[in-house]
């Protein structure tokens, strides 16, 4: 893989003064307008609707024409005093922490491995990663569901090779803990490639000279990794971990599909399916909007430090 030319593009950095012709000053805004409009319609309006209705009573009665009444923070208070909401929230956060950490650690491990091994081995590993990454979510889920099928699934068959173990007929999706473990394994399997290939791309940009200098100074492989390589690629590791956390917290499709494959019921809910069930399922749009806002606030809190760093660099 070649790396892109990193020569910084020159910004048109003369101050926006009245000396510049009007056409030139307005051009960047014209270029931005279509994208901005699309974002306003597809994101801005729904976001506004959501914020507004999280403060209103908006249930089935309002669906049938009754005007929604302002209820202030009632929706939020109802949620935050509901033990079921808390149980879903805690489950989701634990699920996110385990899955995101496993993904990033495995991803870094794979990237270091790609760097260390011979070329054919590296390419084999990269192609395998790409195959897993490229698979559409629904196809991933149908294959895994087939592999864990209780009667003819490969997993139960293979486990039964172990002497004294007979797993044929074991349903992995009945026990909620086992259900979430399955979901976590599938999501980790599918997300590691993105992390591994991104970290590998970053590793190839670490200059060899720095490492040679460290090697001359007698640094061991482990010291080199901890003191030189990881700090250099730290910005990328931070954003990868953050993205994984955000994606794993809001996970919806995989849980929805696993539920469809045979474990319906709110014991198997994480935040995504919980909010969806409350809104579209039960028609409690006000409450669902408030729950979605809580998830959003939580996510923004997570990413706040990163965004602040980014803004500093942009100055």
């Amino acid at each position: 893989m070649t790396t892109p030319a990193v020569a910084p593009s020159r910004l048109d950095d003369s101050p926006a003064s009245s000396k510049k012709p009007f056409g030139k000053r307005i051009l960047p805004y014209l270029l931005l307008t279509p994208a901005l409009l699309a974002l306003l319609v597809g994101m801005g309006y729904p976001l506004g609707w959501q914020i507004l209705n999280s403060f209103r009573e908006y249930g089935l009665a309002q669906q049938f024409g009754q005007p929604p009444a302002w209820v202030g923070l009632d929706n939020y208070i109802t949620l935050l005093t509901d033990s079921f909401f808390w149980s879903v929230l805690i489950k989701s956060v634990l699920f996110m922490a385990v899955t995101a950490l496993a993904t990033v650690i495995l991803g870094i491990g794979m990237a270091l491995m790609m760097k260390a091994v011979s070329r054919p081995a590296r390419i084999t590993l990269q192609v395998a990663m790409l195959l897993a990454w490229a698979m559409p979510i629904v196809a991933q889920m149908t294959v895994w569901n087939w592999m864990i099928d209780q009667r003819n699934g490969l997993l139960n068959y293979t486990l039964s090779w172990i002497p004294g173990v007979d797993m044929i007929g074991h349903n992995w999706l009945v026990n909620p803990l086992s259900f979430f473990a399955v979901a976590s394994v599938i999501i980790t399997w599918a997300s590691v490639p993105f992390v591994a290939l991104s970290v590998y791309a970053a590793l190839t940009q670490v200059s060899g000279e720095v490492k040679e200098a460290a090697a001359l100074d007698g640094a061991s492989g482990w010291q080199m990794l901890r003191r030189i390589t990881l700090p250099i690629i730290r910005p990328i590791l931070v954003i990868l971990l953050l993205l994984q956390m955000i994606w794993d917290l809001r996970v919806y499709a995989q849980i929805e599909l696993l539920q469809g494959f045979g474990s319906a019921g709110d014991r198997y809910d994480l935040l995504g399916t919980y909010i969806y069930g409350m809104g579209v399922g039960q028609g409690q749009f006000g409450m669902a909007a408030a729950a979605a806002m809580l998830v959003m606030i939580f996510t923004i809190g997570l990413s706040w430090f990163y965004v602040r760093e980014l803004l500093k660099e942009d100055d």
């Binding site: 893989m1 994208a35 790609m114 260390a116 590993l125 990413s303």
Partner: protein
Amino acid sequence: MNTKTSTGKWIGSTAAILIALLWAFPVYWMVNSSFQTTTTINALTPTWFPFPGGTMANYKAVLDPSTGFGTALRMSVMITVLSLAVCIVFAFLASLAISRFKFRGRKSFVLAIILIQMLPAEAMFIAQYKMIAELNLLNTVIGISIIYIATVIPFTTWMLRGFVAGVPADLEEAAMVDGCTRFGAFMRVTFPLLAPGLVASAVYAFIQVWNEFALASVLLTEDASETLPLWLRDFAQPSAYGPIPWGQVMAGSVLVAIPVMIFFLIVQGRMTQGMVGGAVKG
């Protein structure tokens, strides 16, 4: 010393290949199962290889008009083409604005692009569902495309920005010194250099939209308006009439997955560059 490192490398390479096989195994298993007959797939001992004894019967069954595969394919194509065309043009213009100009509000726009990617899209479903329902656009190509375009624009803009920034503005200026207009310089110098980046971003957006499941399951609720991922979900659902036809389900999965996976393999090198580039350039 030398033998020691080469032995180490050899062990590492073997381990890497084993991990590779493990990681790619579900993909292999999907393909393998899709060629099995009903008898071999329901046998208590799995069949590890598709040949000899493989069959195309599962594919024939999936492609039969009664399964609705064709309808779903048409729906997926229409939604993807519309979303992609609009998204790429809009994102490209926006990426030019933020990488070639300095203007008031630029920083806010970049920040907005980053923030939108941080927002949990799944948390917005309820609001997006209500909006599309009120516009009477549930189960339509236009309705879901409106949301897809807005969802894909931020990342596409971000990726394209990395590519545009990779083409030095000096090149354009040189062409302008040689008598090109700014627009002419852009079209003759920068645009050809950007073409690979544009293709990579377009394929990225294509994969996002083509594979999207969650929002589609919310906005497309009728059988007739299902996209391929929704079709596959229904096809793989346990039914009251008998056991799941795993061979057919895997054949369906192959048909949904393989075209995208081929596209993906072709452009992925550039995609990772764009992502890393975007991140490095802040």
